[in-house]
């Protein structure tokens, strides 16, 4: 890798963002942060990141999904990998998918879910995988 990967973290929990920053900065990544969907979108417009780490529930229950769909619907931003953070278990998200589906459309707009609380090792591993395009 020639240049540092640019990772954008969007979460309204500043402590959690701080923790993730500490974890990710142990590797050669450039970290940018945002604390709501709107701010996150501006950061993406400023510069397309290599990866977005996005929280599901911010001010509204679906703010994270709203942003993810907004990005997926635009040609320029469609291919940015998104890692979605959730305090649901993966299973709950999957079984509860139909509750979101009629608002959201057919496909999940994210590449991977990561459950909170965040385990540093798992976060690093997942981020590396997504950056490698897995």
């Amino acid at each position: 890798m020639d240049k540092a990967n640019d990772i954008l973290i969007i979460d309204d929990d500043r402590d959690l963002v701080h923790s993730m920053r500490i974890i990710l900065e142990t590797k050669p990544y450039t970290i940018r942060t945002a604390h709501n969907g709107k701010e996150g979108y501006h950061r993406v417009e400023e510069k397309i990141p290599d990866l977005i780490i996005l929280d599901v529930m911010m001010a509204t229950d679906t703010e994270g999904f709203d942003l993810a769909y907004r990005l997926r619907n635009q040609e320029r931003y469609r291919d940015i990998p998104i890692l979605m953070l959730t305090s649901f278990t993966q299973k709950m998200v999957e079984t509860g998918a139909d509750k979101f589906q009629h608002i959201m459309g057919e496909e999940w707009p994210v590449n991977k879910f990561l459950e909170k609380p965040i385990d540093p090792d798992v976060l690093l591993k997942t981020v590396e995988e997504l950056l490698r395009g897995e």
Binding site: D13, D15, L16, S19, I22, I23, S87, P117, I118, P120
Partner: protein
């Protein structure tokens, strides 16, 4: 109900009756044949002068034609079971044959004076039962004419019937014309009165039959409607979404009521506008008129106050804020009712029909029932959704900070923020465990609240209980030591595995053990034992010598948020959820849980786990 269709079913019902009776007549005739033979034989025995050969001849003739009729009836039933005319002809033919046979018997037993002249009555009755009323009179007149003719011919000597049978009875030869006339009039009157009585009774019976038939149809229709309503309610009960529920209600209601369209309008918070929330069969154009301002719609105003509205002919009334739209849609009559639960009005429920005066009082009542059930289903779902929304929100709010703390602890412990010594790392690990256990409790609270009704069974797998319990006990050893409670844990080794699920076992054990320690004062002890109870079960016992539970409060132990009086006095800590969660976990583990306790002496909780097969 279509009246032409109703008439057809009704006619069918009475035709079937005719075909049955015609067959029945054949059966009755066999009895008559037998009776005639026996009577002839008895009369001979008693030395009456009866011309036996001709009588037997008549009986043979009766047997013959009855056989024929039996075959004909059977064939008619097979070929044209629902056609009336062939059976009517068959009935006429039978009566005529019978009258002919009777005439012969009358002639052989005294002619005009034969007591068998009374038997003509039977045939009048049969004609009355089987055929239209006019035929009862026709056959009565035939009988009168026949008897009159016989009497006349006998009197002038043109016919000489066999008269010696009742030589010494009332009827014997030699009555004066005056007496003969009286006899004739009596017979004729009897025939006519019989015809009158039988036809009157039959007509009234037939009218009753029709009423019954109509009632039957009405009951049938009501049953169909109620069944459809039952299905509708069942469908609504499974709806998890508010819109889905209302759409199901409008669609089903339009179908059940047999109308073109149905709508649900909901009242806004300020109770000033009605918004179309769901509709079936209304055009986009109609819906485009948008929300209804209640102050401009007298009809909706009244409905919201609780009135029922049935409009037979929309053209005549001036009720609507948008009368043009109603006309364009082609509606002529409608029913509008408030959707309400007890006194709270949720909105307005309407059905629209293109036919004028389409709705009867019964329809209005039935629609009111549908509206009531729909409102209940809506209310029910809404409170479910509210509850579940609240719990999810509450759980999220509680878990968010915990997740943040937990994540930060992990960052620290895994030395991402700088190196730690072993003691620090161990303490951080303990913090993480405690945080995790708290987080799981919150999750359980959520589960207890929302998923109580969840019928999906837990996914159990083979688990070795002793190591798991040992691991879970570690935190509590410290806790007990700090409190000065002696915690003795005796877990038998080499026990067979049970079917379980780690988190459920954790819920169960940690709740029971923490309770035991919490309610046991310093210097007392808590004893945990795990052993094999019998070949099928393991037994886990957590016994303490603590404060115990008052006898009268034992039954309420598993009630959420319940805490016994002495428990509250003992410590402020405790939400009263622990045992409810433990019980829920035990139920899902398909084991059993018993609690024995004596106030001031201690508590013993016994859990039985089925051993994995």
């Amino acid at each position: 109900m279509n009246s032409a269709k109703e008439l057809v079913t009704q006619q069918l019902f009475f035709r079937r009756e005719l075909s049955e009776r015609v067959g029945w007549l054949v059966g009755v005739r066999w009895v008559a044949v037998a009776a005639a033979l026996i009577s002839a034989w008895v009369l001979r025995l008693w030395r009456f002068d009866l011309p036996i050969a001709p009588v037997v001849g008549v009986v043979v003739a009766m047997t013959g034609y009855n056989l024929m009729f039996a075959i004909v009836v059977r064939r008619l039933r097979r070929i044209t079971p629902d056609h009336q005319v062939p059976f009517q002809i068959c009935a006429h033919a039978q009566i005529l044959c019978d009258l002919a046979a009777l005439a012969a018997l009358i002639y052989l037993t005294g002619g005009f004076y034969s007591p068998l002249t009374l038997f003509v009555l039977f045939h009048i009755i049969l004609a009355g039962i089987l055929l239209d009323p006019i035929y009862a009179y026709l056959y009565a007149c035939m009988g009168i004419l026949g008897i009159g003719l016989l009497g006349y011919l006998q009197a002038v000597g043109a016919l000489a019937p066999h008269t010696r049978l009742f030589e010494h009875a009332i009827y014997h030869v030699g009555h004066s014309p005056r007496e003969n006339g009286v006899l004739f009039i009596i017979l004729a009157t009897a025939y006519l009165i019989t015809a009158y009585l039988v036809t009157t009774v039959k007509l009234s019976l037939r009218a009753k039959g029709r009423t019954l038939l109509r009632f039957g149809k009405e009951l049938d229709a009501a049953n169909t409607k109620l069944t459809a309503l039952y299905d509708m309610v069942k469908q609504m009960a499974f709806c998890a979404d508010y819109q889905e529920l209302m759409d199901s209600a409008t669609q089903n209601t339009a179908r059940i009521m047999g109308v073109k369209a149905c709508s649900i309008k909901l009242l806004d918070e300020q109770r000033q506008t009605l918004r179309f929330a769901s509709n079936y069969g209304l055009s986009q154009n109609y819906l485009a008129k948008g929300d209804i301002d209640i102050s401009k719609s007298p009809i909706n105003q009244r409905i919201i106050q609780g009135a029922f509205y049935t409009i037979g002919n929309i053209e005549e009334k001036d009720y609507f804020q948008y009368p043009e739209n109603v006309r364009q849609e082609g509606f002529s009559s409608m029913i509008c009712l408030p959707l309400k639960v007890e006194k709270r009005v949720l909105g307005v429920f309407c059905v629209y029909s293109q036919a004028r005066f389409n709705f009867t009082d019964a329809d209005v009542d039935f629609f009111a029932l549908i509206a009531e059930l729909t409102a209940l289903a809506m209310q029910n779902l809404k409170s479910e959704l509210n509850k579940s929304w609240f719990l999810q929100k509450a759980a999220h709010q509680l878990r968010s900070p915990l997740n943040a703390v937990d994540s930060m602890l992990k960052v620290l412990r895994k030395a991402y923020a700088g190196p730690l010594n072993d003691r620090q790392a161990e303490m951080l690990a303990q913090c993480e465990r405690r945080i995790e256990s708290l987080s799981l409790t919150i999750q359980d609270l959520l589960k207890l609240g929302i998923k109580r009704a969840d019928t999906a069974p837990a996914e159990l797998r083979q688990i070795s209980l002793a190591p798991l319990l040992a691991q879970l006990s570690a935190v509590y050893q410290t806790q007990a030591k700090e409190k000065g409670v002696h915690l003795a844990i005796s877990l038998e080794s080499g026990l067979p595995a049970i079917m379980g699920e780690e988190k459920l076992l954790d819920d169960l054990y940690t709740n029971l053990l923490s309770n035991a320690i919490k309610y046991t004062p310093a210097g007392h002890q808590v004893q945990v034992t795990l052993a094999k109870e019998d070949p099928k079960r393991l037994c886990l016992q957590i016994a303490d010598t603590g404060i115990g539970i008052p006898q009268d409060q034992l039954p309420r132990l598993f009630t959420e948020f319940f805490r016994a009086e002495n428990a509250k006095a003992h410590t402020d800590q405790g939400t009263g959820l622990g045992l409810a969660i433990a019980k829920e976990a035990m139920d899902r583990l398909r084991g059993t849980l018993h609690i024995e306790s004596r106030e001031g002496e201690g508590t013993r909780v016994t859990c039985y786990f089925p051993i994995a097969a």
